[in-house]
């Protein structure tokens, strides 16, 4: 067993994943890369990854093969299997011999055996108290996973956890930043429209603002939209409702 080569591959995988995390990354792409690397590094037949959705149910996020994907979907449908057990308990499920699970998974075990797998493992994706999903590993050859390999698998699951959490934080930051700039931009457009209305209608800034706001309220429009229409010329300033903006003498 070329354990030196495996170790080097494992180290390279961690570096590769860490590199991917730095830039603007696609989380599904990263998790797919991770399941592929699990197969290379851990000597397993297939790997898959499930994440808990905001609604609280698990979803299949990445699989190293189609057979794996189908099995994971089946696991979710049957509501039984290693990934679900691992997610529910937060404890690793390792070295479960499918021929010998004694009715633990009466529906899942026969399907997995039929797909050609002989043993299964699942490791929790956990950060402090929260479990966000699980990494599933399926073996074709019978036999047990060595403790060192289980540790390595958990390390890869941990990297996946960090990736997912970082992605969620980045998405949130993106949304907030867009809101920030959108709000700033709306404000700028309103100021420009105030100036334009003030000039065209001989109003001061407060009166111009009152005219814009009055028009928006009367027509059930957003102030920023009225302002944009003024700027673009779609709404002539002379057609603003004048009852709220009193003309300067």
């Amino acid at each position: 067993m070329a354990s030196m080569a495996r170790e080097a591959l494992f180290a390279r995988t961690l570096v590769e994943l860490a590199d991917t995390l730095v830039a603007d990354f696609d989380v599904v792409e990263l998790l797919t890369l991770l399941t592929d690397r699990c197969v290379d590094v851990l000597d397993v037949g297939a790997a898959g990854l499930m994440l808990v959705a905001p609604e609280g149910d698990l979803r299949v996020m990445a699989s190293s093969s189609d057979a794996m994907r189908v099995l994971e979907l089946y696991e979710l449908q049957a509501q039984e299997g290693p990934c679900l057990d691992c997610y529910r308990t937060g404890v690793p499920v390792v070295n479960q011999n499918l021929a010998d699970v004694n009715g633990r998974w009466p529906r899942f075990a026969p399907e997995a055996l039929a797909a050609g797998f002989s043993s299964v493992h699942a490791l929790p994706m956990r950060l402090r108290g929260t479990i966000i999903g699980a990494l599933n590993l399926f073996n074709v050859e019978p036999g047990v996973m060595r403790p060192a390999d289980i540790d390595a698998a958990q390390a890869l699951a941990d990297v996946a956890t960090i990736a997912v959490l970082q992605h969620r934080a980045a998405l949130e930051a993106q949304v907030l930043n867009e809101q920030l700039h959108h709000a700033l931009n709306s404000r700028i457009v309103i100021e420009q429209a105030k100036g334009m209305v003030a000039e065209r209608e001989g109003l001061d800034m407060e009166q111009a603002f009152a005219a814009l706001r009055g028009h928006a309220r009367n027509h059930n429009l957003r102030l920023a939209d009225v302002a944009r229409d003024i700027i673009s010329g779609a709404l002539p300033s002379s057609s603003l409702d004048r009852n709220l903006g009193t003309r300067r003498s």
Binding site: A170, L176, A183, R187, E191, G195
Partner: protein
Amino acid sequence: MAGERRRRVLARLARGVDPEPKRLCQVCAEVTGMSGAGIMLMSGDSPEGSICTTNDVSALIEELQYELGEGPCVDAYRQDRPVLEPDLARPRTPRWIAFTGPAVDAGVRAVFGFPLQVGAVRLGALNLYRDQPGPLTDDQHADALVVADVAAQAVLVLQANAPPGMLAAELAEGGNFQYVVHQAAGMVAAQLDVGVGQALVRLRAHAFGNELTLAEVAVDVVMRRLRFGDRSDEKDPLP
């Protein structure tokens, strides 16, 4: 190491009475041992305004960059990396042709820009200045990276509490978003019957040509002391 720096910055922020952006800028200057600091929001390629400055000089640094579209913050944001000018009066390679003179006249001797970002999301830049020339020490540089990071997070946290479509009150109140300039642009657009973008260019040109700040010209327009005629010029203020 970075964790320790972060803890120190957060501890200083927590000591402030109110977590307003002004305090954020003060902490940025204190932690890095600079004369002043300012935080500028940017979008696209241009400055949108400033959410805080610690003193008149840092306010001027922000305003010059807003007006001229060049300077350490603009570069830090565009290039996505710290931009360091340890000797603004005698730079090794001259840059920021329009920015440098007025900044040096105001007493700026060293100026540094750090991008404000959360992951791949870019918000703007932090500017730090000192009234003495000289490079940042390794510690100051590391501290600046941490304060820029904390400041970026803080801006987003403040904005997270804002009503939809609105700028968070904390960001709006202490900031300078050059509203008068935009009002003036609207007025000049109407006077010249041009777009607001072009009106802004005319305002900038007038400011540059008359050695005034953009804000000064804008106030003159809004106060109706200056009117842009369609013929030539902006050189004819109304009596």
